[in-house]
């Protein structure tokens, strides 16, 4: 019986700044197992501890993580450069089950760093674009600098992704939409009976996004959310990530809305 806490060695190959508090890390991990869009890894900084971070790309040559500076472990990560070693264990958790919905329209919704979770779905779909109907990607951020991966947007649109952007606070030369991400639903034209919604972002954003989907008439079991909770073990034994009757680390982080309906949106749960 192997310890679930054993770490793989990861060599940081490249660090790409996304904005002032977000960086993308490309990590070489030997024999990293296959993974699916929406899954996460535990990243370990020697002597400091671990943080759960979603895998932000389907690429297989290097493991990509997009990290926001929020605490002690990420602070240490931010001081790291190419050649530094970190520990990696994973992949963990449920995924966005996009492979089950060939022939469907997709509405993908991301708020802020939530795009890191949704990006692998976009990449997966682009790899087999003809399998899907219309594919919308709705992205909201606090300000234009909060819109991640902007250099990829052109390519995504060329591949048939309907990309819609909005920011809360326009800054600089921003001429696009201003407002919350749910505003963008007015530009979405899909058949609700043949639509799947997938989202990741702050809980309040997801709360209103779920309501939009329900208003549209999308079935509860075809609305998928990625939930975030405190995590220590990632294998369902430390108890920190409990979200009602689920463990976010092993039952989630991706849930169909129908599974968490009675607990989602309840304050301080």
């Amino acid at each position: 019986m192997d310890s679930p806490f054993l770490l793989r060695k990861g060599v940081i190959k490249e660090v790409i700044p996304e904005n002032e508090n977000t960086k993308r890390f490309l990590i070489e991990v030997e024999e990293f197992p296959p993974f699916k869009p929406g899954q996460f890894n535990m990243l370990y900084v020697y002597g400091q501890g671990e943080v759960p971070i979603s895998i932000s790309s389907m690429r297989r040559d290097l493991v990509e993580h997009t990290v926001r500076l929020v605490g002690e472990v990420t602070e240490d990560l931010f001081s790291m450069k190419g050649g530094n070693i970190i520990g990696v264990r994973g992949p963990y958790g449920s995924h966005f089950p996009v492979e089950l919905f060939r022939g469907f329209d997709l509405v993908l919704v991301a708020g802020g760093l939530g795009l890191a979770d949704i990006k692998p779905v976009v990449e997966y779909v682009i790899g087999r674009r003809e399998d899907y109907g219309r594919v919308y990607l709705l992205v909201g951020a606090k300000n234009p600098a909060g819109l991640l991966y902007r250099e990829r947007y052109g390519e995504w649109m060329d591949e048939g992704i309907d990309l819609l952007l909005t920011v809360d606070r326009p800054e600089g030369s921003w001429e696009g939409h201003v407002g919350v991400v749910t505003d963008l639903f007015e530009f979405v034209d899909v058949d609700p009976q043949r639509t799947v919604g997938m989202m990741c972002g702050p809980e309040v954003m997801m709360y209103f996004t779920v309501r939009k989907f329900l208003e549209m008439g999308v079935e509860e079991s075809r609305i998928f959310l990625s939930v975030e909770r405190h995590m220590k073990c990632a294998v369902g034994t430390c108890g920190h990530c409990q979200f009602g009757y689920t463990f976010v680390c092993k039952d989630g982080p991706v849930f169909p809305y129908s599974r968490i309906k009675s607990i989602f949106g309840v304050r301080e749960l």
Binding site: Y46, H230, K232, C238, H240, Y245
Partner: protein
């Protein structure tokens, strides 16, 4: 296999377990409290005492019966999921060593609630991802369980179906009769040990006496919880005012979680040497009453004490069923006895069910 053995044979039973290489853990009387501890002989085992337990109250008194008590604050989780466990020894180059401890325990003098806690902890640590640290301490465990004839006022095991009499899941099950013990072996290992004890075939009057004791025990149990549809009924009480009311009394000290035989939550900590040459990753018990327990990005999800008590109570009586397929409460009542302000989980469940 069943046998009626004279009382002094109990010492032989402990000796037999020690001879077979088990680390025998048994209730001992220490500073006025009954505690499970490793023992080297039967003479150390708590005998001829009983307990007076009530909300926020615990006293030991002399008694005729040898084992007419239930349990003090600690439980089997202290041995199988200890307060602190090393998980990984890491070097700066990320070379790693997994320190797995192996112990073969015999738990003597445990109760129906303790047997149930083993089954529940097994589901947590061996039901999904396999936890080798727990497995190393759990494999080959031998159990000697006693049927409770003197439940404490805080006990409510009958409500959750774990006691007061043990219905299996233990190698040996013992009922203390007036001047002998009726012992049942329910496993091959149990039979093997029981065969070595002197005794006789049970007679009808032994069964009659046992039956009487069970009835006395059941009628002595004053607390109860109505578990019918409880998990789903409680899910409808997420916004109840009762939570705020409990929060006015609750100190959020976490004592209830510490003494709970099934509370398993832990945090993981890195302990790095001063010169930085090595780090030990260890786990230690954590409790959902701490604000930091739920914190992400510096903000606690459960800011209020009300939400933390709700998490604790609902985990036991509702969430656990979704997570592991049965209730997380074994009805031992430790949380009632050891709560410094005397909050009674059975009372709070009643209030929730009658609220709104």
């Amino acid at each position: 296999m069943e046998k009626v053995v004279p009382k002094p044979e109990m010492g032989r039973l402990v000796d037999l377990l020690l001879e077979r290489g088990y680390r025998v853990v048994a209730p001992v009387l220490k500073e006025g409290v009954i505690l499970f501890e490793e023992v080297g002989s039967f003479s150390q085992v708590a005998r001829c005492v009983t307990e007076k337990q009530d909300r926020g109250h615990y006293r030991v008194e002399k008694a005729e019966e040898w084992f007419g008590y239930v349990h003090g604050p600690n439980s089997l989780k202290h041995f199988l999921h200890p307060p602190k466990t090393d998980l990984l020894k890491v070097k700066p180059d990320l070379s790693q060593e997994v320190p797995i401890e192996r112990k073969r325990y015999a738990f003597f003098g445990i109760r129906g609630c303790d047997i149930a806690s083993l089954r529940i902890l097994d589901k947590v640590f061996l039901g999904g991802f396999q936890d080798p640290y727990y497995a190393g301490l759990r494999e080959g465990t031998f159990t000697v369980a006693f049927n409770c004839t003197r439940p404490a006022r805080t006990c409510f095991c009958a409500s959750v179906g774990t006691g007061p009499f043990v219905r299996g899941g233990s190698d040996l099950i013992i009922t203390e009769l007036r001047d002998s013990f009726l012992i049942r072996a329910t496993t091959d290992e149990g039979k093997d040990v029981l065969e070595e004890l002197d005794g006789r075939e049970p007679k009808q009057r032994d069964y009659d006496e046992e039956k009487e004791l069970e009835e006395r025990s059941l009628s002595a149990m004053v607390r109860r919880v109505d578990t019918r549809d409880l998990p789903s009924k409680l899910l409808e009480k997420l916004e109840s005012d009762v939570w705020e009311d409990v929060a006015r009394r609750c100190l959020a000290c976490g004592s209830c979680a510490m003494v709970c035989p099934t509370c398993f939550c832990y945090e993981v900590v890195d302990d790095i040497t001063l010169d930085g040459s090595g780090s030990v990753r260890f786990r230690r018990w954590d409790v959902c009453f701490r604000e930091e327990f739920s914190t992400i990005h510096g903000n606690p999800i459960r800011k209020s004490v009300a939400s933390r008590y709700r998490q604790w109570l609902l985990h036991k009586f509702s969430y656990w069923v979704g997570q592991f397929g049965e209730l997380g409460c074994v009805g031992c009542g430790r949380c009632i006895t050891w709560c410094p302000v005397g909050i009674d989980i059975t009372e709070e469940v009643k209030r929730l069910l009658s609220d709104g």
